[in-house]
């Protein structure tokens, strides 16, 4: 393999030694095109908002990131549930991959939210219900990933992670509900366009954002899944030799 193809997305060309395949290569190219279109519409062609000015352009990456952070979280819960039900390693790894990518998108949501908040409210952080929920989602996902990272047998780790992953969904609902009640007492602003409907090119840009970011999410989950799969295979690889070596101990002694 030549190394110069290993760009961020270019590396999805299917070689014998990569996580890429024909399908993901096509997906990667489509994703790159979508991201290009998003840049074109989001940063250049769409107009500035009457109230918010150019800050509205943050919305085109912020809102899709937020949505996908929740999608990833639900995917993790589904993967965990199917793993517990069917003992399917495949679904366990789906849960793992989507949790990690979801954490990445949660981080994007938080950072872009703060960068949107500064010009809009004058401060990076306000205890806005949605931003606070997102921060709690980040902490919950970090907890899940901490369980994934423990040094223990596959079975122990996967089972414990699956219980934590399954509980992500009720936790997210309860956290969102409580944070919402907590904040509505004080009527703080929420990141949104003040009253105005999102129309025309702005709506189209947001739509493009959803498509491009969703495609990126899918691409990342697939590749992260394959990396996790390979890690499993590498771990399992030595078993036959290990049994042979173990038996040899007895002959010597």
């Amino acid at each position: 393999m030549t190394t110069e193809t290993a760009g961020p997305f270019g590396a999805s060309d299917s070689g014998p030694t990569s996580t890429g395949s024909r399908t993901t290569m096509i997906l990667g190219v489509v994703t790159l095109v979508a991201l290009g279109v998003l840049v074109l519409f989001g940063l250049i062609l769409s107009p500035a908002d009457e109230n918010q000015g150019d800050a509205v352009r943050i919305m085109y990456v912020h809102v899709p990131s937020a949505t996908l952070s929740y999608v990833g979280c639900f995917l993790t819960a589904i993967g965990s549930a199917v793993f517990l039900w069917r003992k399917s390693r495949w679904w366990d790894l789906v849960a793992y991959a989507s949790a990690e990518v979801a954490a990445l998108f949660t981080a994007f949501t938080l950072v872009t939210g703060m960068l949107w908040g500064r010009p809009t409210w004058g401060v990076f952080w306000v205890w806005d219900a949605r931003l606070t929920s997102e921060a709690m989602l980040m902490l919950l996902l970090l907890g899940y990933l901490a369980v994934r990272g423990i040094a223990a047998d596959y079975g122990v780790r996967a089972k414990r992670a699956a219980i934590v992953g399954l509980l992500l969904v009720p936790n997210v609902f309860i956290v969102r509900q409580s944070v919402q009640w907590w904040r509505t007492l004080h009527q703080t602003p929420t990141l949104s366009l003040s009253g105005a409907e999102i129309q025309g090119l702005m709506l189209f840009s947001l739509f493009t954002g959803f498509i491009a970011i969703t495609l990126s999410f899918i691409w990342m989950v697939i590749h992260r899944f394959r990396v996790a799969w390979l890690e499993e295979q590498v771990d399992a690889e030595g078993l036959d030799t290990a049994i042979a070596e173990r038996r040899a101990e007895g002959v010597v002694s």
């Binding site: 907890g143 901490a146 369980v147 223990a152 079975g155 122990v156 219980i163 934590v164 409580s178 907590w182």
Partner: protein, 222 residues
């Protein structure tokens, strides 16, 4: 299952009464936290008074965390985990029993902290019905979730650091709810507090179900 739960709860409580770790270490820690809050927030400016419900529940949460760590440290002794697996006790029963014993310890802690707050912070108690309901429901929520995540972390080398990371974000809604409900009760507007009691009940119910079904798989191969 309930018979097993009772057996485990009785064993745990007997053990706590005999060892006095909860009494000699957890309770002083909780009172210490109350005193430290008073140092941090100048008691003369009314800050302490306003923050009392939140401080109370933070103190419950952190000292409760110690009680939960302890509840699983007891089962981690040499060979006990294996003995529990071999015992034939239903995992759901073990879960309910440990939850019950943690809940009883938390209730004792909450009463003592309540007395501490009343004496040290000069809080006057009103809205008794809501206060009691909040304590019961919040205790159920903390102990059901704490016991489930306790076993997730049990038997691992990183358990002391993992449990707070897993548990505290999950308990954040309970902290918010219990604090707001207490504020509502103390400020004489109990109707604002009851929705929070409902939310915490839902929380506790979710975790009881998750614990009953999840405890068995979690006890294996740790």
């Amino acid at each position: 299952m309930l018979h097993d739960a009772w057996l485990i709860a009785r064993k745990d409580l007997k053990l706590e009464i005999r060892s006095r770790v909860a009494l000699n270490q957890v309770v002083p820690f909780a009172l210490l936290v109350l005193v430290l809050f008073a140092f941090a927030l100048d008691p003369d400016r009314g800050l302490l008074e306003k923050a009392t419900p939140g401080l109370y529940w933070i103190a419950v949460l952190f000292s409760g965390l110690l009680a939960m760590q302890r509840s699983f440290a007891v089962e981690a002794a040499d060979g006990v985990t294996d003995a529990l697996r071999l015992s034939g006790l239903a995992p759901a029963g073990i879960y309910l029993g440990k939850t019950l014993s943690v809940a009883v310890q938390l209730l004792v802690l909450e009463v003592l902290l309540g007395v501490g707050v009343a004496v040290l912070y000069g809080t006057s108690m009103t809205g008794w019905l809501l206060l009691l309901a909040t304590i019961v429901v919040a205790t159920a929520a903390i102990s059901t979730a704490g016991t489930l995540f306790g076993v997730v972390a049990a038997g691992l080398r990183v358990r002391e650091t993992l449990l707070p990371l897993l548990l505290l974000p999950v308990l954040a809604p309970v902290l918010i709810g219990a604090t707001r409900a207490f504020e509502a009760a103390l400020s004489g507007t109990p109707s604002e507090g009851w929705p929070w009691v409902g939310l915490m009940s839902v929380f506790a119910a979710v975790y009881v179900v998750a614990g009953i079904f999840g405890f068995g798989p979690l006890m294996e191969e740790s």
